[in-house]
Amino acid sequence: MSHTANRDRRIAAVFLIPAIVVLFATTIYPMLYALWLSFRNYDLAKPFIPRIFVGLANYAEVLTSKAFFHALITTFKLMAMTLSAQLVLGVGIALLVSQKLPGMALARTLLLIPMMISPVIVGLVWLFLYFPELGYLNYFLGLVGIGPVPWISSTQWALTAIAIGDIWQWTPFIMMGTAAALQSLSPEPYEAARIDGNSRWDVFRYVTLPQLKPVLVSLLFLRAIDAFKIYDIIFVLTKGGPADATEVISLYIYRQSFTFWRMGVGAAASFVSLIIISVLITLFFKQMQRGQAARAR
């Protein structure tokens, strides 16, 4: 055995094993438990029905249910709304506040605050703004002749209302990542372009954007993974309603498990969602590894 392999083994034994054991116990085990549940008829509302093995029945129910697909579509709709807005706004704001002008560093810092606020608080403050009859938002929109908009009380607007809250909290994320990437670009090509007289749009389109692209892709993946899990803000604002207008995957699982107490069905839906998100995560990791390889060169 080579000397380095030997050393690897010692480091692994002492340093790595504890984390792996802990993560297995706290993450893999509950997931396997969910898998086990998903094959059972585990219905807390009907305690007298034995919790028997039902094969793929729960999966069959989930995959044929309209509500599940509606939740899936709603999740992706919300993802599309928030990601596109966050991308455009985030990059735009980053370009604006990355200029070397006094005060811009402070603006960049202040804009980071929303990200570090608990999603529940974000939900609550937007609830405060949207609140039917009383909310400030409609009052101010009224001043400029808009509205009143039934933000969270109409099926038409509720998803938008949630999207706005999420956009408010996470546009800074794209802004921050983009600003960091902008800073790491070397200034010389920009000076060359200024001497050559390339228009600003051309410089952005052909010099900046291509260099930002890998970073933007990574950031969007991270946002997509988070958007797929979105729960807290919806729980606070609409609890999935009105009707099922804002019922995303997480809320669907929540409702199956804790409103109808059908743990087996909830677990089956959970597993389907784990598989979907695994795809997203795998794609993201591929992108990250590409980035690492590119940087190593």
């Binding site: 392999a5 050393r7 690897d8 010692r10 480091i11 692994a12 340093f15 790595l16 504890p18 984390a19 792996i20 993560l23 706290t26 509950p30 997931m31 438990y33 969910a34 005060g103 603006a107 960049r108 810092t109 804009l111 605050i113 929303p114 990200m115 570090m116 606020i117 608990s118 999603p119 529940v120 608080i121 609550l124 403050v125 405060f128 703004l129 009383l134 400030y136 009052y139 408010w168 921050m176 990542g177 960091a180 970073v215 990574s218 950031l219 991270l222 729960y231 995957i249 997480s250 699982i253 743990m263 909830g266 677990a267 959970s270 597993f271 969602s273 784990l274 998100i277 990250m288 590894q289």
Partner: protein
């Protein structure tokens, strides 16, 4: 060459509008927390009034908010300490082991943080119930570690990668073992990383809602769940909600204002250079 005056003016105008939009909700939390209930929703909204601490007084007297703060602190600090210990060691392993599959291990660890919490809430509930851990801080400490350990591993891996291995080799040539080298040479050099990881773990635990809601009862309720409960009770206690919210967002705001340059690293798992 500096931008023209008109460009500067436009830039500042836009930045100010953006700041107003993004800061208003936070400002509203503060203002509303100091507002007497009767004028909470007055039309037009009042921004000039005699501030009152009544909401804060109520917050701590009508319910034991200080105990909930203690619960949150206990959970957040507990999970931070645990995750930091386990995670830092794993990070070191991931950074130093040369085996070509070690990257897969690192990504596996990271993926543990990305799965939807809702998918494992039910199993946690059942498991903790059988273990008698429901409504205890320990349950949350364990659960929060599932996302704090991967976070620590990835943050600290970045810091360890930057400690030159020659330093460790020098220590080993001098006759120190793997563990002594780690504690005496490498770890002290990554102190800033430890601090940053600790703060991230703390904030994420402090802010967490879903697990806290599902796995705690009245005994070990945390601040986020407590604030939400002012909403679910008969009349909405906006004053107390805003006072509680303000208390909850303090650590995050302090963090942003003091360590903003670390946020990129922590929130993007190193997929963006900070």
């Amino acid at each position: 060459m500096t931008p023209s005056l008109r460009e500067k003016f436009l830039t500042y105008l836009l930045v100010i509008i953006i700041l107003v939009v993004f800061m208003t909700p936070i400002y509203l939390i503060l203002v509303s927390s100091l507002k007497p209930s009767p004028i909470m929703f007055s039309r037009p909204p009042r921004f000039i009034f005699t501030p009152t601490l009544q909401n804060y007084y109520d917050l701590f007297t009508m319910r034991p908010f200080h105990l909930q703060i203690l619960n949150s602190l206990l959970v957040a600090l507990g999970s931070t300490a645990f995750s930091l210990t386990i995670g830092t060691m794993a990070a070191y392993a991931v950074s130093r082991i040369k085996h070509r599959r070690i990257n897969d291990v690192a990504f596996w660890i990271l993926s543990m943080r990305m799965f939807p919490p809702i998918a494992v809430v039910v199993p946690y509930y059942i498991i903790f119930k059988t273990m008698g851990l429901l409504d205890t801080p320990l349950a949350l400490i364990i659960v929060y570690s599932t996302f704090n350990i991967p976070l620590t591993v990835w943050l600290m891996k970045g810091f360890f990668d930057e400690v030159p291995e020659a330093l460790e080799e020098a220590a080993q040539v001098d006759g120190h073992g793997v563990i002594a080298t780690f504690f005496r040479v490498t770890l002290p050099l990554t102190a800033p990383g430890l601090a940053v990881s600790a703060v991230f773990c703390f904030i994420f635990s402090w802010n967490e809602f879903l697990f806290a809601l599902m796995l705690t009862g009245s005994k070990s309720q945390t601040v986020t769940v407590a604030v939400m409960s002012f909403w679910s009770s008969d009349a909405v206690q906006w004053g107390r909600i805003m006072a509680g919210s303000f208390v909850i967002l303090i650590p995050g705001v302090i963090f942003v204002l003091t360590c903003q340059r670390w946020l990129v690293k922590g929130l993007t798992m190193g997929s963006v250079k900070g």
